[in-house]
Point group: none
Chain length 198, copies 4
Amino acid sequence: MTTAVRRGRPRNAAVDVAVVETVLRLLEEGAGVGELSMERIAREAGVGKATVYRRWPGKEALLLDVLRSLEADLQTPEPVGESVRDDLVLMLEFLRRRGLAKRSSAVLRAVITEIRSHPRLWRAYQDTVVQARREAVYEVLRRGMATGEIRADLDPELLADLFVGPMLARAVLREWQELPGGLAERIVDAVLDGVRPH
Amino acid sequence: MTTAVRRGRPRNAAVDVAVVETVLRLLEEGAGVGELSMERIAREAGVGKATVYRRWPGKEALLLDVLRSLEADLQTPEPVGESVRDDLVLMLEFLRRRGLAKRSSAVLRAVITEIRSHPRLWRAYQDTVVQARREAVYEVLRRGMATGEIRADLDPELLADLFVGPMLARAVLREWQELPGGLAERIVDAVLDGVRPH
Amino acid sequence: MTTAVRRGRPRNAAVDVAVVETVLRLLEEGAGVGELSMERIAREAGVGKATVYRRWPGKEALLLDVLRSLEADLQTPEPVGESVRDDLVLMLEFLRRRGLAKRSSAVLRAVITEIRSHPRLWRAYQDTVVQARREAVYEVLRRGMATGEIRADLDPELLADLFVGPMLARAVLREWQELPGGLAERIVDAVLDGVRPH
Amino acid sequence: MTTAVRRGRPRNAAVDVAVVETVLRLLEEGAGVGELSMERIAREAGVGKATVYRRWPGKEALLLDVLRSLEADLQTPEPVGESVRDDLVLMLEFLRRRGLAKRSSAVLRAVITEIRSHPRLWRAYQDTVVQARREAVYEVLRRGMATGEIRADLDPELLADLFVGPMLARAVLREWQELPGGLAERIVDAVLDGVRPH
DNA sequence: TATTAACCGAGACGGTACGTCTCGTCTTCGA
DNA sequence: TCGAAGACGAGACGTACCGTCTCGGTTAATA
């Protein structure tokens, strides 16, 4: 197999950075996603419109990359392995902190909201970023079933939703408004123990 | 205080219906929210653009009404009162069926996605439609705490999220793709019993 | 026969004028036709781009109208009928003055040059404005043949070119640079008398 | 004076030819001048854009060269010297044939039209190609005055226009549509004899 | 019964953004 | 150093939609 010979002037990597940073800056300055236009992005980034379209087929794809660049800043937590309970707390705590992170807070919700409007991109985001985190949760749950810390008679997918769902319900649906510290522990313990008195 | 005297030709109520129905039709035909324009809505409804703007200040407000008209079709279930467990199943089952309902399936997600982009409308939707359902869940949970069917040491708000969150995670975030029958029972029972072996 | 009912807001006639005047102003300010863009014309006329395109399908059609508006300012001379020789002088003199007219001088040549690049418009211009003047010349020549002032054995079309061609050669091809007074008389008399000594 | 030392890879003369030929081909295929872009010319010639710009400063200069290459194919006729009348016919006949020539017909009008839009180039073209032919006409006319075949009381420049103008009026202004054989003779004889009966 | 004010559809209006194209320049690689 | 390939900033292209406005015409309550 041969690599295709690259010809012509190579793309300027600084442009990619400049564009993404410009989008982040505009969002941080409070611009709604609807107020973002390719026209304006290119203008403020000091870049030709065609140069933007050469890299991204449209606004949505650009925003997907912006979203990915945001996610990249926050590294996914590595399960410690001590106890399944602690690992689950770790993972939910990551979700909570992501929603409160410095840059993210305003930007993340705006970008995600936009991406959601575009099924294809939303799926791409799910399949890459989200699915990876989902797999990590499955892994922890499977370990829990093996060690006996988790009931083995439940569907792993359902199990994952039992832990992650409550946090997401607060974070995504209710706009990250109330994500107090300790929320992760409270969710994990309640789901583990059940809410029926015993 | 006197009511302002309405003079001149009264508004044609059929226009409101025609516009909302047109939006629903277009969404059912698979139009993304981005492809919906006031221009097109008015054209396809056979109505003047100004007539639409006379009734709704913008696309978002119109969509909020469309959303409300959808919700109105599905009446919220009345708690039976036999057992707390059955009432919770009833409520989650309503969420599940709403996501699969004929009209809703395609339309609901599109409209909600759009409304989400407009904080003011999203709050209006939350405060009217969603909060009502939320209160119903709180009521059932409070009853459960009183009868001893539910632990009384947990925050009712957290409790509500424990039950509703997993269903919403599947419904809204994963696009209503997998909402098998019996899902409501499985969630309720798992949360009640806990996922730790005993 | 019924006149079609005019519906909707009627077009603002002032817009047509504003646009044409803007083009003329820009050309007078020395803008080459190549530097004229619909974008700029609309901007400087304080008019929406779509409004321009609603009236003219493109830049060329607009320029054709600009050209016609210029021609309209200079009324075609009416043959006096005294002598064929004087009428021919009158008509050539009109061509000469047109090329030197205040507005025309800079503008006319620019617009004509542009129109020439678009065969369809050039033909439209020829068929309307030019052909009318051509017919007037034929009429005078036919009269001359009838009265015996002009040889009857020559093709009228060729005859017209004999008189008009020399003036046009100077005006159009050599950019109206040398159009001295008395040129019309000199051409007409030379063609009438012939350039062979007798 | 020293000749600058040429270093590096010498220019490939075949490129110049390829580019000019490509322009001719595109024009022959009916492309309007407006549809010609440097981008397209370079692409179709299989040549880099920079290579074109290294040789010509812009589209107009390139077209000027194309025009010159066309003129070079048709050699200017040499006056025979038998009679002034025959030499004038010879020269007008050259103009007529040029307008009907295989390649020229479509191309010449397109290129000339374009060149006309650029005063500097138009002047360059006038000063080189056209002026040469003009001088030849003057020469013949001067000879005619000396031999008494032409009236000596007329401005030579006006005289030249009397002969050349009618042919150009048909050729350039009316798009070479009607240039029948014998037209040169008819023009020359009519101008010589005059159009007044005697 | 006649007036009148708000309604209706249509569509023009000044703007703005879309995604594509061409401009002339710049930057790389391989010959 | 050349030629090709193609990226680059700039900005025009023609279209679509925004929300407002202005027409002629309709419709009901008021006078």
